[in-house]
């Protein structure tokens, strides 16, 4: 089960927050000038859109047979986050290399049903306040929906900015995360498909 708010707070206090390099990313919107926080100036538009990872060397296609996959059925698979993370994060992905906007009616309906089922399962875990379901799609064209569990009891970690705590908080210990992933996969498999952890 996920840590209680008190256990999470104790661990964060003991290890300290990550020296996150989020702030160094090109997409980070803020900067400090003369000691004051301000939005970065917007740079002019580029001539070409930022390219996404396509079918060639697609990390999502490549991840299917790996141990990151916790569940699969004929059309979809669910993976754990690709790096250590401060929040419980899962991905729902198609087995076929297609973009979200390319889903046909049947796959779109199945996506909707799995979104609700997975959201419900994660949200029912103890100490999870809310589960965000998000399609960005700016990094890779292959469909990957984010499921981000927000911990209960921290008013600072709430709403769309809550996602940033994935990199700010120290990573969830494997002995906490592993059993939660197993539990989620087992519950998903009661609705269909096969648990892989």
């Amino acid at each position: 089960m996920p840590e209680s708010p008190e256990a999470l707070y104790a661990r964060v206090t003991a290890s300290g927050l990550n020296r996150t390099d989020v702030a160094a990313e090109a997409t980070f919107p803020w900067q400090v000038v003369d000691g004051t926080l301000e939005p970065k100036p917007l740079a002019p538009p580029a001539a070409e859109p930022v390219a996404r990872t396509g079918a060639d060397g697609c990390p999502i296609c490549a991840s299917l047979p790996t141990e990151r996959t916790i569940w699969e059925n004929d059309d979809f698979f669910v993976s754990r986050m690709f790096r250590p993370s401060g929040l419980l994060i899962l991905f729902l992905q198609t087995k076929q290399h297609i973009d979200f906007t390319e889903l046909d009616d049947d796959l779109a309906a199945a996506t909707g049903r799995w979104e609700v089922i997975l959201c419900r399962i994660v949200e029912r875990l103890p100490h999870v306040a809310q589960t965000y379901v998000i399609r960005f799609g700016s990094g890779a064209e292959h469909l990957h929906l984010w499921f981000v569990a927000r911990p209960d009891g921290f008013p600072q970690i709430r709403g769309s900015l809550g996602l940033e705590y994935d990199e700010i908080l120290p990573p969830i210990p494997e002995e906490v995360l592993g059993p939660d992933l197993h539990e989620i996969a087992r519950e998903l498999a009661t609705h269909g498909g096969r648990a892989r952890v």
């Binding site: 004051t36 979200f100 779109a108 199945a110 900015l161």
Partner: protein, 202 residues
């Protein structure tokens, strides 16, 4: 049609003034804003101890989402869902997909979940096909109100800074999209959506 990246940039540059600096938005005062400046350096705010009980989300009494149905923000409906505009936004287009019934996202039954999935894909596809839109983010956050409301946030194309999970913060930083542009785009989206299902209300 949404502004081209060049038009978008020209409008923002005009609002920013000569040094290119936009004013610091209210967002930086939010409790949920994760950053602060300490000794001239940007750092993550210290995490405060957990509270005994979180502030509840908006429930049924009164529910902003229920009340908004039928207002001039509603642009499309079918028997189970309706689509609304956000009151004001700075990214090119921000719409909500909502159930007519007061239900939370995890409470959707199998049929509504399937219909929700189809509408998410259709609406995302329509918005992404508008000129000058880079990508459409589809988000269920659900922290503010329990009544299901999926966000559809269109980000502009060709701005390397406005991309990915942080793109939504620019909606607070940039000046709002002019009313006549966003209304016309919402009408276009509603008209397209109605060729698949339901009725356009604008």
């Amino acid at each position: 049609m949404p502004e081209s990246p060049e038009e978008f940039y020209a409008r923002i540059s005009a609002a920013a003034g000569a040094d290119g600096r936009l004013p610091l938005p209210d967002m930086s005062d939010w409790r949920q804003f994760p950053w602060e400046v300490v000794d001239g350096t940007l750092v993550a705010k210290v995490l405060q101890p957990p509270v005994d009980a979180e502030e509840p989300r908006e429930g049924t009494d009164p529910c902003r989402v229920c009340r908004s149905y039928g207002s001039d923000r509603t642009i499309w409906e079918n028997d189970h869902f309706f689509v609304s505009m956000l009151g004001s936004h700075s990214l090119p287009l921000v719409l909500f997909l909502q159930t007519k019934e007061h239900l939370d996202f995890p409470e959707l039954d199998d049929d509504l979940a399937a219909e929700c999935g189809r509408l998410e894909v259709t609406l995302c596809r329509i918005m992404e096909a508008l000129p000058h839109i880079g990508r459409v983010h589809v988000m269920r956050i659900g922290d503010g109100a329990e009544h299901m409301h999926d966000w559809f946030i269109a980000r502009p194309e060709r701005f390397a800074q406005i991309i990915g999970s942080l793109a939504v913060e620019w909606d607070e930083i940039l000046p709002p999209v002019p009313e006549e542009i966003r209304r016309a785009d919402a009408h276009e989206v509603a008209r397209h959506l109605a060729t698949h299902d339901g009725r356009a209300l604008v």
